[in-house]
């Protein structure tokens, strides 16, 4: 889990985050800690979970909100920039992502996935929306494929998979035939439908669907072998 820079919290076995007054529904199951004067700045080496920070962010607690944004801003901005390619628009997308998360934190369901992937899914969809609405120049999928194939994360920024498992997934993407990799990137990162790719590349729709399915099946096999 990521380190927090410059933020201190009070923790105990049952209290995981300081939360201010509650005006919105918080993530269920998260313990709340009464804040006592002078008790806030006790330093601990335990990082709050993503879910705890999300709950604190949703309640509007300034310190928890700052920690939440700080933890995820690099990943959200990075994904947005990967898709829209323009820093100013990527910042707009990233800011809108956090706004969306703040307003709809109550919809987050930990059973359906991690906070980071929920956040990145929102960022991806917003980035695709901006790309379409602003009619941004189409990006060469090979550029995106090259970027995601390089291990360039900051230490500790990845989660879920072990680093070597993620490398295996990167290698599997690199090893895909060009046409399958192109179809994969166009769908997963650029939100193109099979029909749109068919029109774009002047390839039969059935061929595009086969490329997408074959690529996904190969990567899934790689993922499941790694697990």
């Amino acid at each position: 889990m990521n380190a927090l820079h410059g933020v201190s919290f009070t923790f105990s076995a049952s209290c995981v985050t300081p939360l201010a007054r509650t005006t919105r529904s918080a993530t269920p199951g998260i313990a709340r800690c009464p804040i006592q004067d002078g008790a806030i700045d006790v330093v601990t080496d335990v990082d709050p979970s993503d879910e705890s920070l999300l709950a604190g962010f949703a309640t509007g607690d300034p310190r928890t909100a700052a920690a939440f944004v700080r933890r995820f801003q690099g990943r959200v901005f990075g994904l947005a920039l990967t898709i829209v390619r323009q820093p100013a628009i990527a910042e707009e997308v990233a800011q809108e992502t956090f706004t969306r998360v703040y307003r709809h934190a109550g919809n987050y369901d930990a059973r359906k996935g991690r906070v980071s992937t929920w956040l990145l899914s929102i960022a991806r969809n917003l980035a695709i929306d901006h790309t379409r609405m602003k009619r941004l120049d189409p990006v060469d999928p090979e550029v995106i494929a090259a970027e995601i194939s390089i291990e360039n994360q900051v230490p500790g920024a990845e989660e879920g998979m072990q680093p070597d498992e993620r490398d295996d997934l990167r290698s599997a993407i690199t090893d895909l035939p060009d046409d399958q990799r192109r179809a994969l990137v166009l769908t997963a990162y650029m939100g193109r439908t099979a029909k749109e790719i068919s029109d774009l590349d002047d390839v039969p729709l059935g061929t595009v669907k086969t490329r997408i399915r074959t690529a996904m099946l190969k990567l899934r096999s790689e993922l499941e072998v790694a697990e």
Binding site: V69, Q73, L169, R192
Partner: protein, 223 residues
């Protein structure tokens, strides 16, 4: 495993990628609601899509990004009221006058609110909201009204200058999924309305999409 399972598994990867549209998507979602095995199959692909997004490079956010986000979202702290005692002891006559003025001002609002609640009660509804439609450049282009009841519905009205060539409409939900509005077709007065099978509270954006070359119209429900 039946034929519906075969059809759903055939498009499981595309479902996880969120690129299946229209009736095909509707049929698949209906089947997934009833078939845990197929749901598991799609979830396995969804896990892969999650991992793909996590491969995107981490980039340093622009200077001041964190502050801009927090300033927009979090309310500024209220200034301390140092003169609370004086305020409490304010003249009774002034308070009475203020109360009279407030009552005069808000009375019509109270009547409107009461009528609004009666209307919803009569129609077995819970909420009626209105949101502005805007062009890409931000100019006002119409209004959409959402109604939460049985059924939920939307009514869309578009100003004359923006009606030409609007062909399709879709909702973007909070989770990013897209719901096409198949009934969308502007009548000569520039209106279109119909039932929606989703909770209006979970709608993020309504998009009206034109043919090539024209700009889409957007209503943001969260605003």
């Amino acid at each position: 495993m039946d034929a519906r399972c075969d059809q759903t598994r055939e498009i499981a990867a595309e479902l996880a990628l969120g690129i299946v549209e229209g009736e095909e998507r509707g049929r698949a979602l209906k089947h997934l609601a009833e078939c845990p095995e197929c749901r598991t199959e799609v979830e396995r692909y969804a896990d892969l899509v999650d991992e793909l997004l996590l491969l995107a490079p981490h980039r340093e956010a622009p200077v001041g990004f964190e502050s801009r986000v927090l300033n927009e979202l979090l309310p500024a702290p209220k200034p301390k009221r140092r003169r609370r005692l004086q305020l409490v002891l304010a003249p009774v006559a002034a308070a009475a006058a203020a109360a009279a003025i407030v009552l005069t001002i808000v009375a019509p609002d109270l009547r409107d609110a009461s009528h609004y609640h009666q209307t919803l009660q009569e129609a077995n509804g819970k909420e009626f909201e209105a949101y502005s439609l805007h062009t890409e450049a931000g100019s006002l282009a119409g209004t959409t009204f959402s109604y939460e009841g049985a059924p939920n519905w939307l009514l869309i009205t578009v100003d004359p200058a923006h009606r030409a060539d609007l062909r399709t409409a879709e909702l973007v939900m909070d989770d990013g999924s897209q719901v096409p509005l198949r009934w969308f077709h502007l009548d000569p007065s520039g209106s279109s309305g119909g039932g929606i099978g989703v909770d209006p509270h979970h709608i993020s954006v309504l998009r009206l999409l034109p043919g090539a070359g024209d700009e889409p119209l957007v209503a943001r429900f969260a605003d």
